[in-house]
């Protein structure tokens, strides 16, 4: 076995100190492709992108290209997009509809359904099979490589290369509660979201982890967005989004809001703790009466649909390792694909309630586009920060000085009503420490057995280290 870099020596979560090397070192990067991206559950796409049999969407898992498709019976499959014969991509379109993928190089062809002798993705066509292979090739062994595990969660499609990975819900832990908050209908019904057509994809000269850690819980950086707050792109004409919690004196107090982290799993978000009754309605989208009316109506349905059940708000968070979300305004799922240590490719899926009126979807879409993505007034400034933070991580001298992740260290509280979760005020680096702590465990583990999917013990250890 090749010598691995010991990530625990680079990430000191107890002291809140992390080496710059994890953002620029080529060996670290190669190791995380295998140890992190080769093991974790990764977001691949959304069912609404491939509604019909044989629809496909070409996605990514880590550096790899994958084809997400639907067979005749409606079953979804995720295949590695490479011919097992000589490697050529069997599909170089971004999306489409195909029963069979034929490799452009030697024309081996692979059926989405498979046939009597092969599985889905199976090799069904080999030119001159009798003449040159003399009928002597075990086609059943040379189909497209399938992911080891795949699951559909409320429309979102996830996959893992590792057969030993725990099932997706175990992988999420109670973070599931917040993924629900992203994917559920705004009126509280389970699921019910769809993706707006067109996935934004763009390259950023930044290590992928800068994006993941920003979204997992960096509220400290909002000072960086002052310029967009000054020009007020928000749906009610103030700031960059409508305030998620009320601040008017005559309203019920808003649910507790802060950083919520899952040390056993590596996930985290900024949002509310679970709460059991809707807070007072706060008008949003007030510049567009039709949309404001929709959200008012949805609020009342939500009160009815959820009753006294637990619910939460998840404005921003990260599901370990590289899927982040905006769960409220603007509403989206995105991935930080690794493209070498110093570059990532960002992909963004914008979400709306599938049954919302067209005008509502249109206003939301306009808002999403002016907020987010490479042309978004808010996110442009994020990418500038990550770009230069990556570059600055590389200097031989600078590299001797690790980064400080000590904010709120030792002041984490157990989060009420969530299993193995911690909660601190909104501005803290609690979730970043959780993220990198889990990342280091993945980097150093020999397999899922070492990662203790049921209970890695990190929560208990973190509680034992509390200062308060």
């Amino acid at each position: 076995m090749t010598q691995r870099i010991e990530a625990a020596a680079l990430v000191d979560r107890e002291a809140g100190i992390i080496a710059r090397d994890i953002f620029v070192n080529e060996e670290v990067y190669q190791q995380e492709l295998k140890q992190v991206f080769g093991r974790a559950w990764l977001l691949v796409g959304h069912e609404s992108q491939i509604p019909n049999p044989y629809d496909y969407f070409v996605s990514r898992m880590g550096e790899e290209s994958v084809i997400m498709t639907r067979d005749k019976a409606g079953q979804i499959h995720v295949f590695l997009n490479t011919c097992p014969h000589r490697g050529m991509k069997v599909c170089r379109y971004d999306q489409g509809n195909a029963r069979v993928f034929t490799c452009p190089y030697h024309a081996w062809s692979f059926s989405v359904d498979g046939n009597l002798t092969t599985k889905p993705g199976g090799l069904v066509g080999v030119p001159q099979y009798k003449a040159v292979y003399r009928d002597d090739l075990d086609k059943s062994k040379w189909g497209l490589v399938s992911v080891a595990q795949m699951t559909i969660y409320k429309g979102s499609i996830w996959a893992s290369w590792d057969p030993d990975a725990p099932d997706f819900e175990t992988y999420l832990g109670d973070m599931k509660f917040y993924l629900d908050a992203v994917l559920d209908h705004r009126d509280g019904r389970p699921g019910g979201s769809e993706v707006i057509g067109g996935i934004q994809k763009w390259k950023v000269p930044s290590n992928w982890k800068f994006g993941a850690e920003n979204f997992i819980g960096d509220l400290y950086h909002i000072t960086s967005h002052r310029s967009v707050d000054m020009v007020s792109i928000g749906p009610s004409g103030q700031g960059r989004r409508d305030a998620p919690t009320g601040d008017k004196a005559n309203r019920k107090p808003p649910p507790p809001f802060g950083s919520i982290g899952f040390p056993n799993h590596g996930h985290g978000l900024i949002g509310t703790l679970p709460f059991y009754a809707e807070p007072d309605y706060i008008p949003s989208f007030t510049l567009t009466p039709e949309v404001e009316e929709y959200y008012r109506e949805v609020y009342h349905r939500r009160v009815e649909n959820l009753g006294d059940k637990a619910r939460g708000l998840a404005p921003v968070g990260t599901i370990f390792p590289n899927c982040s979300f905006h769960g409220m305004q603007p509403r989206a799922l995105f991935t930080w694909h690794p493209n070498g240590p110093r570059e990532m490719e960002m992909w963004k899926w914008y979400l709306v309630d599938a049954d919302a009126p067209a005008e509502v979807k249109n206003v939301l879409r306009h808002y999403y586009l002016r907020y987010a993505g490479p042309a978004g007034l808010t996110e442009q400034d994020d990418m500038e920060n990550w770009n230069y933070a990556t570059a600055a991580s590389a200097g031989a001298e600078a590299g001797r000085y690790p980064y400080n992740y000590q904010m709120g260290l030792g002041y984490e509280e157990p989060a009420p009503d969530l299993k193995n979760a911690v909660f601190t005020g909104p501005v803290t680096e609690q979730n970043q420490r959780i993220f990198y702590g889990r990342w280091a465990e993945f980097m150093d583990a020999d397999g899922w057995a070492d990662l203790h999917p049921g209970d890695s013990g990190n929560f208990a250890a973190l509680m034992a280290r509390r200062k308060s």
Partner: protein, 186 residues
């Protein structure tokens, strides 16, 4: 009828119009490259549609239907009006919009200007369909350099004797965007 067969005054009129539109585009590029963004906004009608779709790789035969995302329905790089464009300009002027602070060095090269249709249906409100190509060069901070190449299809409207852009559809010839952001105007 080929151009050579048209009456001389029609040919001269077309030539003058071509010259006038080219001059309009050069002036527009000059304002953008000189960072006179507020003056650039004055060249846009109040109801402008400013649209840059995402581009997809699709199979032969599906380009007209699926290559570009649809205005008004799908995700895009830009799909907005004057209000948002004005906010973009105001954000740069805050001096703390870090993606454009310090300001980039940008040059717009506009070529292949083709007046495709002249619409005189509304008296005194002549409208034109004009297609052109662009090369936008951006260099910022030390060594960041981006080159954006594509096509613009404009609806130009003559308002109070001055040309303005009433609709601009920008096709950027990239599918995955190779730049970290789109802080430049096209």
């Amino acid at each position: 009828m080929s151009a050579a067969e048209q009456p001389m005054d029609a040919r001269i009129e077309a030539l003058l119009l071509q010259r006038e539109i080219e001059a309009f585009y050069y002036r527009e590029a000059e304002l953008l490259d000189d960072r006179r963004f507020e003056e650039w906004l004055d060249l846009l009608t109040e109801d402008i549609v400013y649209f840059m779709p995402l581009r997809r790789n699709v199979k032969y035969g599906q380009h007209s239907e699926h290559e570009n995302t649809r205005q008004g329905l799908d995700a895009a790089w830009f799909d907005e009006g004057k209000h948002t464009l004005t906010q973009r300009v105001a954000q740069i002027a805050t001096g703390i919009h870090w993606a454009e602070e310090p300001l980039s060095r940008v040059r717009h090269l506009v070529t292949n200007v083709q007046v495709r249709d002249v619409d005189d249906a509304k008296p005194g409100m002549r409208e034109l369909d004009v297609r052109s190509r662009f090369l936008v060069y951006r260099n910022r901070v030390e060594e960041e350099t981006d080159i954006f190449v594509g096509q613009r299809t404009d609806r130009l409207r003559c308002e109070d004797g001055a040309w303005k852009v009433a609709r601009r559809e920008i096709l950027l010839d990239q599918s995955t965007l190779l730049a970290k952001n789109l802080t430049v105007f096209f």
